[in-house]
Assembly symmetry: D2
Homo-oligomer: 396 residues x 4
């Protein structure tokens, strides 16, 4: 049997806390048991607080790719024009869903190490009439970059364009709020910053988005992909359109509780400080960030350009085989070009950032690079000056 | 907080074993960690053995309603004629999927306490030309009945009709085999007889079914609902089309191991003996089975007609509130007409059948029925004569 | 590997609840971690409430045999006269400890299916001068009997005799209180009615008992067996005399919480109703209780005389091998003479009493006895008339 | 509620692996259930392999202080002369037990940062006639030092002196063997290098030690402290003298399996390499080891002299409160003088040594020390050159 890594510091799914594992140990309830109805209901309430929203939220029963497809399937009718912002692999992937459901994609793209400029979004919306939806990835996990979603969505709203935001790894890495950020539909995942398990899609839906779904010539109903089904069954009537993933819900309830116990500001601050410390190490080691500027680096993981002298796979495999740390490499067309330090969930903490950076240093030395041992970790430690768990309130 | 039931003996999701809970406690791996690839691969191998098939199997990441929709979406092209056999709520529900994806449903229905007659299937296939698919529910959980799927699918094959079987609660309650039963696509769930968690769809696909998917004018690709995506990524290339539900896979691996350790014959025998004993109790208590004849009763749960003098909700609520046993009532148009004794997974055992029947007796006495206490349990005990765990090999 | 039983309904250790198992899953803390100090402190507070006492309590780190030995070692000085009441195996066993530590045992014994008469205790105390201690077993688990400890200890107190009570399986089966019952030292175990794990001794100590320990010519100190060490370290100074069994403490905290959530009256009532129902079954089946009268039967387990036609081992082995239920037989000189139905912890509930009685019926029928199937369970069900979990508040 | 630390890197009890926690989740068996007998038996076999011995082993049910007291109580008869080697707090503590049980202690002591010289042992044994037993602590956890037990015990054997070795934290930190090292009785604990839970004593007993126990004028029997009771019940007859701590045994079985899967050489090597790396960091940071020379430093933890400018409690509290890492301070008369980096069990790995050293650096900087950040970790990383998990085979 393949030996397991000691630490899963990939870019999702990631290690979960002991508390989350215990929550999943609760006996499996019948989904119509009153105790489960209570848990599900409470979980959606907690999710609203984590999303910092009063909008409706929907917890769909499969990972966020399902959620993203469901949103497109529920909103986009044949012929609808959709402005798709592309700054990475996931942004590009949205085009497939738009086409599958008959939409007419308009692409605004930037290189995969850059972020979309809100001014360009405004220009496109001004110049191309009839755009109904805008799709954008908040945190492009494969590239380790973020787009300025708040500015973008506020512009979209000026044009009465419904915004659809993939914030799968963004929730928890920035202090977002659908209302404040003018996000009509946000899709997040529990398996990224929240440190949960990867079987659910977490979706917030604005009244305008609900109205758009209902206003379609043929609203999508009677499908696993239908958000309206969730509205008419669970939200309006406390019934389920199908069987929820009971133990995934247990895990979600727990990670939401943990996040709220810490407080969303501290939670986000912990991720941002960890990312900053990871970037400090990267620079100190003479490596290059994949992101074209540090200001657009995401807080959930740090993408690092593979040095010319080395091979991405060799770095990742050595780190795992010799030191038990699993990190992720590039994905899709980024494969081989970068590797990613993960600092999501419980990994977003000085102990594990230091452990990871230390093992990376050790690995790079093993592979022939040269620098003073401790260089990267030293920069990390300096970056963490002022850290205080009592503020960050890491829950166990 | 609502008190939890002591025993979840509903008709799925049901209590899972301690062994399954422990399996889910394993640390959450990155889905491209070699240790997870190994587990996923091993799990699909185990699934083939539980399905008793050499066909490809696909494990989709959401409960079986998603799986059923995915099968229809992957196979049925606009205009395709589909013979939909209806003997209950789930059979009827297939019609929605067929219509959603542009199919042309032809319904052959029987009352919801009866089973479809294979001779009628033959007659329809003979009389209506151009039928490409046949959809049938093996074990209609809401009605507690089974259809003669083996006979039906063999007939379908004579007519070159691709058969799609909902065996969500059938897998484990009969000793099925896709090849022997001529089932082209079988969709099962881990949360029924296997006693697993409810976040996955287990699908076996015949070569003919794959061919049909690929032969569509526009094969379904690039969707969470696409079976072909699983074929071209996981089956052919060992990649995932999206992130699997890691802990659900852990649970599935475990329940498959447990079933195979027991042996599928013993496993099925245990469910059938439990169902027989439950039916003996029902009859001894002067209650009526919902199924029109015992020969079409499913082995996964026993649906009982609510006596005229009583109210279904009152029975179910009293059983849970006073005695801590959760069972399921009727569903959809069967609501209020029946209640269901559950004997899936670990509940398929004399101890828990006796506990359940005993608490049902106690409840019915509480609600004013009269019979000698022990009447139902006595019949159950007689029915279990010859039981031997050493044969049934219940694993813990 | 030997197959595990489905239900451990022995007379301790017994099955623990899912909640208890989860509590044990918490990460192992350093015993001087402030979080552990807090848990240990809270646990002793909870224990006082379960014991219904204001006396000091000591949690010793090994099962109650250690606790009983420690009490004797801490109190009894060479030459001290100890009245040892013997109504069973455990009562008799106390004599060894008394002798080991130099005490002079005076025995008052009755047959092992009877209880000590308080009047006899008074007579002995009146007739034999100089008795300093009295030792008595509250609930003689091997015989399934109880002694009238309240009456006995009140008499002891009249004579200024320090009473030492083995209530290992008594705590939770009667609504005791050291103050009200005049018990100077009570030793209980978590693995019986409380349904905990078997690695701790739970001891309440009256001021008079502390004084007696300190008044010894050479008080016992510097030993694992010293209760005074616990007083001077933990109780007086919040330090530990040695490392506590961290995960056992987690389990204890949890079972105490569960008991108090239910409420001690309901908790005890649940055990007594379960025992009464088990006895009803025994009588209905034509079997004989081991206890000479029902009034002295313990609430934690029901000892049943083995019918002449059968063999104890055969009954126990068949019940386990065929039906997965583990019960205990006789112990010491009672071996082969009786078997014991266990209804401690979560087994003290109609579901599991019925399951156990049903499987016993099935086993006795298998072994050739004859009676109408359901006879025993029927009596059990009648006995449970009026049961209501909402009152008994079973916690999960 | 007090926040828990993220990592328990104290000097025992320490964090346990996920695998160990899962092992403890198994249902609690009756101790005479055949499945438990099998587990207990298997566990003692595994223990022999971890001890690398063919001697009998005894697993006593309370932490090693009980085990040490039991050994003295079982061996030392009133008047027996015992050479007690003292190089630290625990060595000194043995004197109490020797006196409690009537022995006549002869002390050979060195400062608490030094090790006993075997030549001195020989000299004492030559000069003082009639010594029957020798007691020595292998790894003095509070001082972070080791004694040359192999040399000492071989000398003892020359003089027919029975050796009693406290190797509570030594087992796993050196590749010991009772036969090869001439250890008559070795007492180890599962909660140190093995990374288990702290409720058991692991004892190996040579034939000579058994003979000595039996040869006492009054052999110790009928006591929780009696090793002979274990011999005559468990070893000779497969019965238990009292109820074992079922879940502690589950944990022990698991940690023994994990150690043997890794292999004892790799296991010990991992601890030694971790200790060496920790010492390298201490030196690089300009701190002083407590041990007078590195050659007598234990592999289980690294004791560091508190710098004059700082306060031990402040270091420990800051490390825990700000960075979530719990380490231990000095104990007994060493309190305030030192702090200890823990690298036992899963903490004996580059990731966690680096995390711990990194957080120590951060803490010392916070408290006003000055050095280049990364200095300690850098030395650690250099020390770990050549590390390879594939050799060390860390099990999860």
């Amino acid at each position: 049997m393949t030996t397991w890594p000691r630490f899963n510091m990939a870019s999702g799914p990631v290690d979960v806390t002991a508390e989350t594992l215990r929550a999943m140990q609760r006996p499996v309830l019948y989904h119509y048991d009153p105790a489960f109805i209570e848990i599900f209901s409470r979980t959606t309430s907690l999710l609203k607080r984590v999303f910092r929203t009063e909008y409706d939220v929907v917890v769909m029963q499969a990972e966020a790719i399902l959620g993203l497809e469901a949103v497109v399937a529920s909103l986009v009718a044949p012929g609808d024009k959709v402005l798709n912002l592309v700054s990475g692999v996931f942004g590009k992937g949205m085009e497939d869903f738009i086409r599958t459901y008959g939409g007419d994609p308009v692409e605004l793209s930037v290189p995969y190490n850059a972020a979309v400029d809100p001014a360009d979004v405004r220009r496109v919306l001004q110049s191309i009439p009839g755009i109904r939806y805008l799709t954008v990835v908040h945190s492009e996990t494969p590239s380790g970059t973020v787009n300025p979603v708040r500015e973008i969505c506020r512009i979209a709203r000026e044009f009465d364009v419904i915004s659809i935001v993939d914030t799968v790894s963004g929730l928890g890495s920035e202090l977002l709020s659908p209302e404040d950020w003018a996000i009509d539909v946000a899709v997040a995942g529990p398996q990224k910053c929240l440190g949960g398990t990867p079987g659910l899609s977490l979706i917030s839906v604005s009244p305008a988005a609900w109205a758009a779904m209902e206003a379609r010539p043929v609203p999508l109903r009677g499908s696993f992909l239908s958000l309206l089904d969730w509205k008419s069954t669970w939200i309006d009537n406390g019934r389920f359109p199908y069987t929820p993933s009971v133990t995934e819900i247990y895990a979600l309830e727990s990670v939401l509780e943990q996040a709220l116990r810490e407080g969303m500001e501290a939670f986000v601050g912990r991720h941002q400080a960890s990312a900053k410390a990871a970037r400090a190490a990267v620079k100190a080691l003479g490596l290059e960030l994949w992101a074209e500027s540090e200001s657009i680096a995401t807080a959930c993981c740090t993408a690092v350009r593979v040095p010319d002298s080395l091979d991405a796979k060799e770095i990742i495999d050595t780190l795992r085989a010799r030191y038990g740390v699993m990190i992720a490499g590039g994905y899709g067309e980024l494969a081989g070009k970068l590797f990613r330090l993960g600092h999501m969930g419980q990994a977003a903490h000085p102990t594990l950032v230091v452990a990871q950076v230390g093992m990376l240093e050790r690995t790079l030395l093993d592979l022939g690079m040269s620098f003073g041992p401790g260089t990267g970790v030293g920069a990390t430690l300096e970056s963490f000056a002022g850290w205080n768990d009592e503020a960050a309130a890491y829950p166990v």
